[in-house]
Structure formats: C-alpha cells, structure tokens
Amino acid sequence: MSTIARVTNFVDGDVLDAADLNDEFDNLVDNLNALNNDNIAAAAGIAPSKISASIAGSGLVKNGTTGALEVNPDNVTVEISSNQIVIKDLGITAAKLAADAVTTAKILDSNVTRAKLAALGQQQTGRISDSETGSSYADLTGLTVTITTTGRPVMVMLQGATSGATGLAHGSTTLDAVETAVRILRDATVVAEYEMETALTVSGATISVDSVVIPASSIFVIDTPAAGTYTYKLQGKNVAGDALSVSAELIAWELM
C-alpha cells in the first residue's frame, strides 16, 4: 500500500457514473482501512498519548500522563539518574553476586578486618595437671583436643592458665641428673618431641636436681596436615627422676 490516489478525476460536464462514484468511494474506504507508514505525514509527530500502552514490553512502562515510554527500574538494584539507567548505589546485594565473583583484585588491601573473618575455632582444654613416672610414653590425661581443619597449618601448644601454677617440671630428691621427655601426637603420628635433661656435677657433697621447671608455652608445634579432623594430645615419660609433672592447657587452632 502507498499513499491514496484518486481513481477518477471528475471534470465539469461529466455525467456522474455510478461505477465511477463507487470506485472512488471503494478506493477511499479500502485505503482508509489499510493505512500504512506512507499514509502518515513525514512530520506527523504522533504524540505518545496516541500510542497504545501495549507498546511497552518487558522492562518498559508507558507514562499514563504523557504516554512516553519509560524504563521501569526496580529502584533497588537499578534506577534512573539524570535520565540514565544506572546500577543503584548499594544495589548489588549478595543475591546478585555470582559465586566466586570476588577475587583477590576485587578486595581492597587491609579491608578484611578481624570482624569479617570466620571464627578462629580454637580448641582448648582447661588447665590440666598430670604426671608420669614411667619410662615409656603415656598420655597426659586430659591434654587432648580435636580440631577440624581446612588444610592450613595448625598451631598446637601448651600454655599457662589464668589460675594455678603452670609449667613442666621434673626433678629428684636423690639424683644429680634428671631426664624426661614429652611429645605431641596428631592421632597416632608424632609431630614434635622434646627432651629435657638437667645434670649437676659436685664434689665433696651429695646433691640432687630437686626441681627444674620450664614454661608451658615452651612446648608447641606448627603442624601441616591436609584438611581433616584430627586429635592432638600430649604424652610424656620420666626417664630419670621422680616424675614428669605437667600443669597447663593444650590449645590448637588453624592458622589464617
């Protein structure tokens, strides 16, 4: 279809023929019922209000007053600002972020504060006091913790307590040389072993190493197991002397 053209150009003196009239009117009616772009003036300036609201598809809305097509933002994640579609400040919530979207480069240095870190998950006994008199390794009762790790190194150590004397002691009321040892085990695996030996040499007198005490936190190990659940414990033995005495807490945590 194109612009409408007349069928017959009437001139003075013509007899109005029914067929001509019918053709003319038929032509007009047919064209008015089948208008297309050609029938609209170039500068028609069809006002938005003349357009059906159904023109607004997904994400669009037709202004009820002006008829203009407008982007329809949720004003939560996106908004219109200065007639531009923009991501709204604070509009990106966790739900909008893909898994693993945040890589190293996306994190500002020094912005992961302690409060953002997951709990340390340290496992800690209370103060335990126990002793071993035997010459073979045996568990120091109660000095055991179980920790589940993600594969990072694990710090395991003895430490003092908030009350009561703590430390590792050995000695003898009769011997001038005493020897004990302790070891830390991860399940059945020895991950650290420490010997303690003190000897005195004196002439002209009988003398004994009555007591030697070292701080509890002298005993520690940094273990590097794969991710898993492990039980750490302390064992001790008394090679020479009255006893090995331990009074301490055992604590283990996965290093960050």
């Binding site: 898994a99 994190i107 340390l120 007198a205």
Partner: protein, 262 residues
C-alpha cells in the same frame, strides 16, 4: 472507531442524492480524523520518524526518531543490542553492606595483604633487675589493643632472662631460684604463673652453691576474650626457695611483648 464500510452503493439510473453523497463523504472525513489501529494494515511498518520525540521517556535517548536505552556506560551499557552490567561497573559504592558473603569469594583469594593488621608491640629499652620480688611489673612491656572478640595471641620474645643466686658457701637443703612469668589483662591474670625454676637440694652436708640460669624469655599465650580494649602487662617473680636466701632476675633489653588478634 474501527474499519469503515461503504454507506451507500450507487447504481446507474439512481442519481445520487445529496444525503447519500454527504453520508459517504462524512463517513470518510470522520474516519480520516479519527484513525485508529483498525485502520492500519497488519504490516503498516510505521517508521520511527512519524512519532514525536516526546515518546522517549526516562531512561531513553532519541535520535532521528530512534529510541535507545540511555545507560550511564559506567555501571550499565548496551552491547550487541543487549542491556548489560558493564565490566568493572560494580564498584564498592554499588555493593550493599554484607553483600560479599563467603560463597562469593573465590577460594584462596583473601591474601594476607587483604587482611587488616591488628597487633601491638612493646619493647624493653633497658635491663631491669628484680630481687626477691613477686610479680614485679616489667617496665615498658605494656600494650593496649582493641579487639573484635577474637582470641588474642600474646607473645614474649626477643631477648633472654637471667636468673641467679649469689654464692652460698654453707648451703643446706634447697637452694636456687623460683621464678614465674605472668601476663595480665588489666587486673586479670591471663597467665597466672608460668613457672621458671632451677632448684637444687643438698643432703646433709654444707656445700657451696651459686646458680646462674640464662634462658630464652619466650612465652606464648592465647587469651579468649570478648570484644573490647585491653591493656596487657608482664610481671616477673624471682624468689629463693629458702628463707634468708636471695634470687634475682634480669629482664634483658630488647624483650618484646606482642599482642595480636587472631
């Protein structure tokens, strides 16, 4: 208004009456002034230039009648005729609080540099000697740290501590020293008494004794404490096991106290 149809079908021999012509012409004129969707052919293909530019509402640009989305080209853009989030377009300002949860962080991508530091240190600048004293405050070995509620690692290190007793030429029974190290959080002992001791026993006979025991001054402690601001101090004891005897401790220059929230 809808599609129109002829009002009168003319036939030869029936000259058109004025009413018939007027009816026909009026209908056409009226329709021409009230065109609606029914008057356009299915494939009318009305071009963009026929619409007023005011059709472009918020979020749109219009050029030569063509509507296009008006993005900021910073956070959003159109690419391949599709609206999309622009690469690097999601800045910190766009992220909601708590938006970055664990699942959003690629494993092993929180490197050390990303973690804020949270430690304090103090160091002794002169040797400090104490004799026959319990829980003497170590000068300069004080740190104050504000925590978020995670455990605090406390460490003493960096130099030696030397315990000693003077020469005793008529010793009997117990001789030597008994020391202890305490780390206190304010008025609360964190490590009440991490003992350090060298004690010898003579049996029945006078003997000469003099003890010198220099050892690393190294202690570790984890203090599980609620969020807050805490001041930690170090106290050292040096005593003799027998009344009338003497024992001393020298805390060496360079001894450090380190406190870090884990």
């Amino acid at each position: 208004m809808g599609q129109i149809s002829r009002a009168t079908e003319f036939a030869n021999g029936n000259p058109p009456f004025a009413d018939d012509l007027n009816a026909e012409m009026n209908q056409i004129a009226s329709t021409g002034n009230n065109l609606d969707n029914d008057n356009f052919v299915a494939g009318a293909n009305i071009s963009e230039t026929k619409f007023a530019s005011t059709l472009a509402g918020s979020g749109f640009d219009v050029a030569n009648g063509v509507l296009s989305l008006n993005t900021d080209d910073a956070s959003l853009e159109t690419s391949a005729d599709a609206l999309q989030v622009r690469n690097l377009g999601v800045t910190a300002a766009k992220l909601a609080a708590n938006a970055v949860t664990t699942a959003k962080i690629l494993n092993a991508n929180v490197t050390r540099a990303k973690i804020a530091t949270s430690y304090q240190t103090a160091v002794t600048v002169a040797d400090q000697t104490i004799t026959n004293t319990s829980n003497a405050l170590v000068t300069s070995l004080t740190v104050t740290i504000t925590t978020t509620g995670r455990p605090v690692l406390l460490a003493i290190y960096g130099a030696s501590i030397e315990f000693s007793t003077p020469l005793n030429t008529s010793a009997t029974a117990l001789k030597g020293y008994e020391g202890s190290v305490r780390i206190a959080r304010g008025a609360t002992n964190v490590v009440n008494s991490d003992l350090v001791r060298m004690r010898i026993r003579g049996v029945g006979t006078n003997y000469d004794t003099q003890v010198t025991d220099k050892r690393p001054f190294c202690h570790l402690m984890v203090d599980a404490v609620a969020a807050g601001t805490y001041t930690y101090v170090v106290r050292v004891s040096a005593n003799a096991p027998s009344i009338g005897d003497s024992a001393s401790a020298i805390i060496k220059t360079g001894t450090k106290l380190f406190a870090m929230e884990l």
